[in-house]
Subunit: 402 residues, 3 copies
């Protein structure tokens, strides 16, 4: 799985974690590797193995200056490419520094996030053309969190349209328009039927619900799974759009990104107020990106709230998700699960992953990696005549325009 | 050993942890299994495997309502028997829920404690007829604690009459009546001789001390070991009676129960004041049942107190016991021990345990499990003529009356 | 390596940790053994295995009284030699106590430190005749700390004269006299050439720097490595002298001692003020000897300080060392290192260690252990004509006089 992950550009940091040239370096763990990120004097981001090639001191303590990160133990200095550009503790005539090639990964910045490519190919593949990475900075908001479970448990949650009617249920919610979050269809039909389509980029998942009092139409929530761990959850019309990514720190911890963007205009003050109410899919975190409501405080579980206001007694959609996903344990033992028809998307996603691993083992690189235009997608809610396949009926709204 | 433990009813919780129907569920760990306890709408106690059969979310976050515990992830609902009684995320025509049998253990309430049977037999065996489980609620007090060592180290301590003269020694204690705690015999003779008798329920242990200035009598402290891990420590005449149990959470942690009861009348305000002085065998705990004086604060060790007031410098008989038992390490390596004649009861208890394991491996169930009346016992202090065997001389006071 | 370490007297505690006869015992971990130290009624220091030979209770809770440490569980009492001198829970006629030989290690006090010999020889070898262990109490200051990495990473740092020009660099330091810390040679030449000489006690390491504007002389910093893990760092003329030791608690933690002494007179108030400024090689610790500036607070790293005042942004030479040594991980994987010419002393030290292990495996005891006079050494700074070998030119200043 790690080998497969290394085929993709992965978003691992916020650009704002490295706010300026020569700012302090930051520790990052990705795919079980301990790394240090820094922004050099020209603004380029470097991502180096944390421990100096000389004697292993952490480059986190390093001096970020004059286009390189310098180890404080003996002054060895690396550029963003991992070249050792200065070795002042050796005699000037020494050529030792030319023999040092420190682990360094290629980075890109897009959508106010820092992406890394940790794979074997040089040059690396193109960046996936996700819409939120192509809009101006003010159009996009990225929220980062650390979650203490395998990334897969998070991806499974994102693909699971059926839990919305339970885990995220708010009581006494006013019934809204048919395409709204509080759609009469969502409230009336809590056992959606899934249609999962294989695509070049991953899966297209349609969760179908009956429309109360209307035998001619279906209500569809349409979600994409994009390799390796990206998903898009549909927003009601008029709302900013949603994207999520789960990147393994290691087998038992993950970096979670939730992204809100508007293709056509900047996020408004109202949008930002909603995002930072921390009631929706974005979560309030501390300076280490650990959610403020976390395992240690039972995610703020309030049993009185659970009796009167919502299904869980936990505030915030993201915190509700984290609570159940972390409660499955660091790596859930799937021999114990009992999957039903509502888990169709999850089953398909695992098959897709396993197939991609098998392909790679047999020497076939993932197709979508070299076809970044496949990622130009949006998810959607659609109300369609019963006889119309959802991927056809919603075709236009599933395409990105930027 | 785990297989043997599963033959017995085990007390694991206070009834007061589940104070009312539909109250919040509680996490419990017993015999290395993570469980969730809840009291349903009819007042029955359920003890379920913690992780939902569907996708493993913790039922601790569950909704306890309408005669069942409901997982907040997708609304699956279980009754106290582990039946899946509702599965609202699947289509109504689905029969999937009939195929789900979630791990659920049988429970009973007795003596203000909740007992569990985790064994293979259905129906389960009868409950042991311990006197404290048969008196009215006001006659009994149960104190629960978590102790961070193997249950066996605790059982060994309970059976070890000889440590009382050291670990629990208070200086300058007034010499009391001959049968009192501060009996002249206890103070004068600190090397008791042990007589250990095998019984159908376990062991009957007599620790004999000389009576100062009286060559015709012996002072006897009589303690029972009842399978699998129950003990009774003698109280002086007039005092409430004492019982202890040690139940493994796992190999390195245990639930300890200490019980005080009066067969004939409610515990008095004076009794309760003594118990909750936390100076005797009961211990003050936090909301997670961890003792307030614990390993992290050296059990409140006060070296000045140790010089002037008692043997250890630690307040509280139970804390003194916990300090030495935990200090042996999570599982004491018994190849390092050097047992003397005062360890006779401990040696016999281990033999009894090993024999019971051997019997079970050869298909013989423990006899006492199907003979609950064997548990109708009390321990006693007795002063007997030297020629009278202790089990005969004290016969009457060793029998429960309720 | 453990077997080799056991051939040497090791300094593990401050005498002041056991300030008076019959004072409270103290837990100590050395060479992966859990021990309890106590000072008996006559002032002798005992170092016993922590867990009582009887049933394993910790002797840390013991009563230190009347020439022995008594376990509080059953009153067994041990003298400093590990003899069981009282066993009050066994009948007086029992001879059981004569059969108990509890693990006890020989101790000495010298230089206000407590030393232990954990090896196989009886009598133990003589104490190494280090100068600081032979001066009066007021002439010597010993600072103890716990460091969370293998002792070897600390020894490597002490021998590494080259890192001084980087890790410990203070900006804007006034250039001092030629033999001062801020010697023009130290500031101008940051790539010292090493000469490493094998000696009977270990290694004599000369780090040579050019003297600015003087082609006839070299500036030498001369450091000894003394088996098994002792080092001496040169001080400028007039300063008190420096010694360090690293003693393994286990494979991943060490006790570090830094020693300051004056051979000829007591340390002055100014000396002590400098030491306890915690800006030099001594470090401020809490009551458990953990440095106050430690991994959990990033050693007090101040990025603004790093830009303007010193190379690391960390206050204190010792804290700077600890930061890099701990950041290498508990045991640095040396397959990843890239050693250069400035690592000559480190390479030689490892060879010396490996040779000593090989010798021991073949039955040859370390020569220096039985030749304590070899340790009568001082380190030095010297400015010598280029043609003079440093060990000859500095011969006199490398000898202790006390």
């Amino acid at each position: 799985m790690g080998e497969l992950m290394r085929r993709y550009w992965l978003p691992v940091m916020l650009s704002s974690e490295l706010p300026a040239p020569d700012c302090p370096p930051v520790r990052v763990k990705v795919l079980s590797e301990e790394l240090v990120a820094f922004r050099d004097s020209t603004g380029q981001v470097g991502l180096l193995a944390e421990h100096c090639a000389h004697r292993g001191a952490s480059l986190y303590f390093g001096r970020n200056e004059e286009c390189g990160l310098r180890c404080v133990y003996h002054g060895w200095k690396y550029d963003v490419h991992g070249n050792c550009v200065d070795m002042p503790n050796e005699p000037p005539e020494s050529s030792f520094k030319e023999r040092i090639h420190h682990t360094a990964y290629k980075t890109r910045e897009a959508g106010t996030a820092i992406w890394v490519y940790m794979g074997p190919h040089d040059p690396p593949p193109p960046m996936p053309e996700l819409e939120w990475t192509r809009v101006p900075a003010g159009h996009v908001y990225v929220n980062k969190r650390i979650q203490e479970n395998s990334y897969l448990q998070n991806v499974e949650g994102e693909l699971d349209s059926s839990h919305v009617s339970f885990l995220h249920w708010r009581f006494n919610r006013k019934v809204g328009a048919l395409t709204d979050y509080a759609s009469p269809a969502m409230l009336a039909d809590r056992a959606p039927r899934f249609t999962v389509l294989n695509t070049d980029y991953g899966l297209l998942v349609g969760a179908r619900r009956n429309v109360p009092g209307d035998d001619s139409q279906y209500f569809w929530r349409i979600t994409q799974f994009m390799m390796p761990t990206f998903t898009m959850i549909p927003a009601p019309p008029g709302r900013y759009l949603d994207f999520t990514a789960a990147v393994p720190q290691d087998d038992e911890n993950m970096i979670g990104l939730t992204v809100a963007w508007r293709p056509d205009r900047p996020l408004s003050a109202e949008d930002l107020a909603e995002i930072e109410s921390w009631e929706s899919v974005h979560t309030e975190v501390d300076k280490n990106f650990r959610p403020v409501r976390n395992r240690d405080n039972n995610y703020g579980l309030d049993r009185q709230l659970q009796k009167t206001k919502n299904y869980t007694g936990i505030r915030g959609i993201r915190e509700q998700d984290i609570a159940v996903q972390e409660s499955m344990g660091p790596i859930y033992d799937r021999r114990k699960e009992h999957l039903g028809s509502s888990d169709a998307a999850i089953i398909s996603m695992r098959r897709r992953m396993l197939q991609a691993i098998k392909n790679l083992q047999e020497g076939r690189e993932p197709y979508e990696v070299s076809h970044p235009e496949l990622y130009r997608l949006r998810s959607a809610i659609a109300v369609l005549p019963r006889e119309v396949p959802f991927d056809e009926g919603a075709k236009e709204s599933l395409e990105a325009t930027v």
